[in-house]
Structures are given as C-alpha cells and as structure tokens.
Symmetry: C3
Subunit: 314 residues, 3 copies
C-alpha cells in the first residue's frame, strides 16, 4: 500500500480484515513502527479518529505528533501560482514537503464546506498532500470519503456476523445540521466489496452519488428496507442532489425500538458521534442490539492494520 | 483502588504517602504502565496538573493522550433522555464508553460555574464519566474537590514536618476573581486523616461547607490562628454561604512577612497559580519559608502513586 | 552548554555542525535522553520548529510535553513586584520554577510585538525563563534571534558547499506583513563565525541592527550583491531603523529566475514559511536550485545536536 486515500488503495480487503482481527487478538507488532513518526493534521475536530489512530500508531511503536492546522501552525495556500499577499502564510507545496521531512506517514482530516459540490469533490486538501508529500498519506475523513471508518465497519460486520450471508441496511436518519456524505459513501463502497446483501434506504432527495452506489438497491420505504436486516447502519447525511441542503428532519426516520422488531434482531451500527433521540432512540442505543461502542473500539485495529501496511510498504 | 474521584477512594492514606515518597526516590517502576494509555480530558485550563500527571504517567511507562474538550472534540450532552437537536453533538454515554475503548485510565478536569450550588455539587461531568466509563476515572479537579492536590499536600507535609505533631493552618486570602472551594475542601478532608493540628481561618461569610470541615476549628481572627503554625497553607476561595460570591478582597488578609513572624517559622504552602502581593506577598514567596515550588514538584509523585494503584487494581 | 539562548552559547560551532551531521547519518543516540522530558512552550504559532524539535527530542529518547501558552495554561505576569489583581493569574517566577520540576529542558517561543524596540530587545519572556528556570532553556525563536534556525543554516551550507569558500548573500524580499528581524539577525551572527564571504542586500531603511551586522558588507543594490553568489538566503524583515514598519513591498526585490542567472548557479535558502511569488517566485522554488526543503529537514539535526549537548551538560 502506498497511501490510504480511498478504499481502492486496499488490494485484498478480506486479507486486511483478517490482519486487523489478528492485531486485535495480540498486540505484538510494536517493532513495525519503531523509530517511525506519524504526523496527524486536523483541519476539523476529531475525537475517535484522533485517539484511535494515535493509539494504533503507539501500539505499533511509532511516535505521534498531532497538529491542529490553522490554529497551531500557519494558514495554508492551496492555489497553484498564487501571489501570496493574503493572510495565508504557507503554500501546501512547502507544508507537505516539510512534514515529509519530519514524519514517516502523514494523516489528514479535511471536511467539505457542503456549498460547492465540484469544489468538495476535487478534494483539494487531501489531493494536495498526496501530490506534494514524499511519504504515505492517510485519509482521516475527507470531503467525500472516510475509508478508515469503512474498514472498521467491514471488520465489525465480519467479526459479528453469523454463518449466514448477512443483510446490511444503511438507513438515513434525521439530524439538525448539514452533514457530509463521506461516511455513507465509504460504507456503500466497502459493502460492495463484501459478501453481504446491501440495501440503502433514505427519503427522496437524499440518494447518494450514483457513481458510488452503482447497482446497490435504494429504497425510499424504510420499513420495507429494514425487514429481516441483520445489521442496521444508521447515519444522517445532507442531500447530494440539492448539494449540502437539509431537505428533511422528519423524525419518523429516527431508528426506534419499534422498528427493530421488524428486523432479524439486527445489530445496530453508527460511526458516532450520534445524536440520541434524533438519529437513534435511547431504547435502541441502550439495548443489547447496539454495537456502536464495540464498533468504535475496532477503529484502533483498522488504523493499526493500515499503518502496518504502509510501514511495511506491501 | 477503582477510581480516584475523592479522597475516600484511598483506603490507607499513610501507605499511599509512603509509596509516593518511594517513587520520588527511585523512578524504577516503568513496567507498571507499559502498553497502557492514559487519556486526559480538560474542560478547563491546566498547567501543573496537566504536566505533572502526563509526566507521572510517562514515568510509569504509559502512553498519554491529551484532549482539550469542546475545542478538539465535540460539545457533550450530559442530560439523560435529551432529544439532541441543539449544538451538542455527542452524549456523555457514548463519549465515556468510547474513550474507555482507547484508554486504560481516563482523567478529567471540570470546574464549577459557581452560580448554582446544587448543580455544582451534583458534579455531573465527573460523575457521568464515572458512571459511563468502563475504566478507572481520575479527578483532575472537579467542582467540589481536588484530591490529587490534597494527596500532594499530605505528602509534602509528611516529608517536611519534624518529629513534632505539626500545626497546619489553612488561611483564606484575597483574590480579584471568584474561585472554587475545591482545593480548600480537599485539603480540609485530607488534614482530618493525618496526625496534625488543623485550623482554618477566614473572614466571616467564607466558612467552607460544614459537611466537609466537620469538627475542624474555624477562626475568624487570622493573627490568632497563625500563632505557632508549622505550616501555613494560603488559598483564596469564593463564599460557600453566598455561593460563588466575592464578599471581600480585604488585603489585610494577604500573607505578609510580618505575619510569618507570628508563626513557628512556618513553611508556606499554596497550590499555585498564586497572585503575588494579593494572596501572598513577594517577601514571603521569595523567602526560605516558601515551599510552593517543592510542593508543586510533589504533584508528579502523588499522580504516580495514584496511577500505579489504579494500574495494579489494588 | 548550559542554555541555548543565543549563538554565543555555542563554544565550538564547527564541532557542533559536525555532530549534527553525524546524528543525521546514524540515529543511534536514543540513550542520551532516556527518562528525560522536554517541555515546549509556545506563545506563538509554529510548524517546523515545533515538529522538528519534538522529533529531535524523541530521536534522543526524550518524552515531550507541548503547551500553547495562554491558551492551555494561565496568562503570565512578567513584571517584578506586580500586585497581581489583573487577568494574569501566574507569575513567571512560579511558572518557570514549576516547569523546571517537571521538565529537564524547557524550550520557549516568544515573538516580538514590533512596536517598542527597547521592550522587544529586553527579551523579557525568554530572559525571565532563563532567570527563573533551574533547568536549561532553549530559544525556539525570540524577539531578536532564532539560533536553532541559524545553526540549521550553518549545517546546510557546510553540507552543500563545494571545496571553494562560498559567497553567501542574504537578500531582503517583499512581504505584506511586518516580520521580526530574528532570522536575519541570527543568520548574520552565524555567518560571521563561518569561513564564508557574507554579504547582505536590502533596500535603504532596512539595514539590520549594526551591533549585529558589525563589519558585514551591506549593499543596497541587489543585482550587484547577487553576482557570483553560491548561496542566496532570501528573507523578509520589517525595518529596524523605523522599528517594525513596512517601508516597502517593492516586488522588484522578489527573487526570480532571472536574478538567479546572475549568480554562480546559487543554491536558494529560506527558513519557511515562504510566500510564493512575493518573496521567491515559483520558478525558483520549484527549480533544482532551491534547497529550502532540505534545509527544513536539517532543523531536526540542529535541534538534536543542541538537545544532546544540553543533556550531556558539555
């Protein structure tokens, strides 16, 4: 692996899942990262991603340096050929090249603005780091994808499924703010690589980018979609068609205990943070069906498997 | 020890003081924390507590992850059953459970608002972490107590006292801002567990919570109280009776060199930060009598003793 | 070495440069810093300095604790004898003494205000740490100097020069904001200690402090100065004579490809961050002549050599 920018950087998903589950069992790989440094750069807040990736790196014996971009350092210019007479003190060309002098791997989080679809899809922050860094780059959630979360989700489903080929349903849920499509995008991508029945359900106007969902069945009737589900993945996202808009906060889409009855005693997943009683009701999150904490715990092992690959350059 | 939330989590204070003083002598316990992670979460600023606890953890071989809550992560919801449609993105139930996936011990600092006594005394932040975390929780100063400081103070007095049973005087001093009662509360608690003569002196209206001070003698005449003191612990706090109010900034309560004459050549203590010439005069802080820096140095060993106990679950 | 506050703390520059280049070759000195802690305190933003110094310390086996002063901790009072009734909660006397309890070396960054020459030249922040700390202090860039950068620059020139005694030209370049003289000051100092032909060129009104530049030739004709240069060090600074003022943003001083023709195929240096097409043109930064990234990479080894000296107290 040379970078971990999108899921397509994984050559053999099944093998990587197995490796993560092995790392979860025995933490005996502290040699791989000895004397190596991970630099993490955050353009947006982070709890799970920050701590789990830091923990993963340290479990591998790496040193970790964390920076809040803009706040701790300098505002960055991304435009090629810019005459830098504004408030932006450093060009990404230098920033990425210099970080590559101090770090063996660079991890970057950069959310979308959700105002200009074309601009967000250009992924200028992440792509610029990839272009100008001389070391591997990890995507800690970008404008359009969150591949570390998706790998975690694949690990969690592989770990918790029974022998039966599971039915996995991704359901939209209401939320007061406009959220990115990055998590559902990456989930849709990774599910198409696993041996599962995958269905997406969301209100009209909330269909994800069809170039990502491809042939995945999209249903606008949540009740119908949830029937016999083995895993229900709940997540809000803003509209892709009317880009970045909140078209609905209809709480009839909230995942409640009643709706769980309709499933095959499904395990409930969410990437967190989750707004209780908006996205998922208390009675679901506090029930045995919820695996959201277990899932968050797996973030460490997904990050560890990816870091190990990048360190081993294989 | 299962948590370190209040002083009553210490079973045998004397034993723990001895252990801290042993750790101070030889730093040879790096095995206890190997492969373990301390997560520190700050809802308020910190210098000594942050650095001494981080240092203590690293001396024990632990990895440390530091977060400024709200700034680095997400605003937290603490209310049970809340419909989370406000600006708070994550519930403490998830935050504490998830942190428990990444950390072996969680340490939390959360100051009081000093507006609503009942709310502050409920200690909702700390108690919620204790309730929803599955790993031990350490109090890095909460609304009503600062048990790591109090343990430090007990260690310092044990270390510096002569054979004689010492007289320890806690004296209020003026300060321009309303400060919590957490430090004097915990000091009053720990002094009641040590073999010392303990006296508190403060202006009328500044008596601490009688449920904490119990039978400790409280004098409103500072001169009388300081007589023959072996240790003078200086500290400002806001009124408990007229909760959170600054009733006086009377500088006749400032600890000056003149007043020291009246003591038994007392050693002067303060938890720091200290406002010079408001709380304690320059001539005292710059004299041989002041042990405030020595005391601050002991913060490391108090934290180390507590962390070691929690790691050893004994 | 007892501190690293200015370049004059280096006894034998050549020896230290050699040591840094040795450290660059083989990172086998992890024993020197084992069990030791570096505390880094930032009163201003930092990217390179922060990461390279942190990396250097970790390569030496040290633990590192990073603090953003004021933000993470308490506002500091520097005035002697102050009655501390303002918003400043802690005096530098305590802060420096306490940090010395937790850290084996303290590193401090504190920029000038560029308003009051006398005040800036007093270097109150750095000097106070030096005065009240009981451990070595490192200057991470102060009001008037940046000796870690200057050591890096000396290392880089020593490493990249040919057998010939090189001509090194420091040229002023335009910039929209008022910048400190710290980098050119320290460069001028260190170049006077190396076996190089050193020339400074800047517009009238931009002459540096003559107590620092001493007998160095200062030319106001950039074209003349650049002739046959082996190294061109580009840097903006605000006026020293009309203290802190931006007297010119004349882009005829920008280092362009045309001007490079006039040199002896010079290597181009800059401390970074650099504003492209204001300070240096794209065609220069993106050319083979630019060594700015290589130079930034050497920051690690300069810091490592200094830290090693301080740890070894030699």
């Amino acid at each position: 692996m040379n970078n971990y920018i999108t899921l397509s950087d994984i050559e053999d998903l099944q093998e990587l899942i197995e490796e993560a589950l092995q790392l979860k069992k025995k933490n005996t790989s502290a040699e791989a990262g000895k004397g190596k440094t991970l630099g993490m750069l955050f353009f947006n807040p982070s709890l799970r991603t920050r701590l789990s990736t830091e923990k993963a790196a340290k479990l591998l014996g790496m040193e970790v340096m964390v920076m809040n971009a803009d706040k701790d350092g300098w505002a960055l210019e991304f435009e090629d050929g810019a005459v830098m007479d504004s408030n932006k003190a450093e060009h990404i060309k230098e920033a990425a090249a210099v970080l590559s002098q101090y770090c063996d791997i660079i991890a970057v989080r950069a959310f979308p603005d959700l105002k200009d679809k074309e601009k967000d899809e250009a992924e200028i922050v992440l792509k610029s780091f990839q272009k100008y860094a001389s070391v591997p780059v990890i995507n800690l959630e970008s404008a359009t994808g969150h591949p570390l979360q998706a790998l975690t989700d694949a690990i969690t489903i592989s770990e918790l499924k029974t022998d039966k080929k599971p039915k996995v349903v991704l359901t939209w849920a209401p939320h007061p703010k406009a959220l990115p499509q990055s998590v559902p995008n990456s989930l849709a991508e990774v599910m198409q690589k696993l041996d599962v029945d995958f269905v997406i359900t969301n209100p009209e106007g909330y269909d994800l980018n069809p170039e990502i969902t491809k042939n995945v069945q999209v249903m606008h009737d949540q009740e119908e979609a949830l029937k016999d589900a083995d895993f229900v993945y709940v997540k809000n996202w803003s509209s892709y068609e009317q880009y970045g808009k909140v078209l609905s906060t209809d709480i009839s889409w909230t995942l409640t205990g009643d709706k769980l009855q309709n499933t095959g005693n499904a395990k409930v997943m969410h990437c967190l943070p989750v707004r209780r009683n908006m996205v998922i009701a208390d009675e679901v999150l506090d029930s045995e069906n919820s695996v959201v904490i277990h899932q968050a715990g797996n973030r460490t092992f997904a990050a560890q498997a990816v870091l190990k690959r990048l360190l081993e350059k294989k």
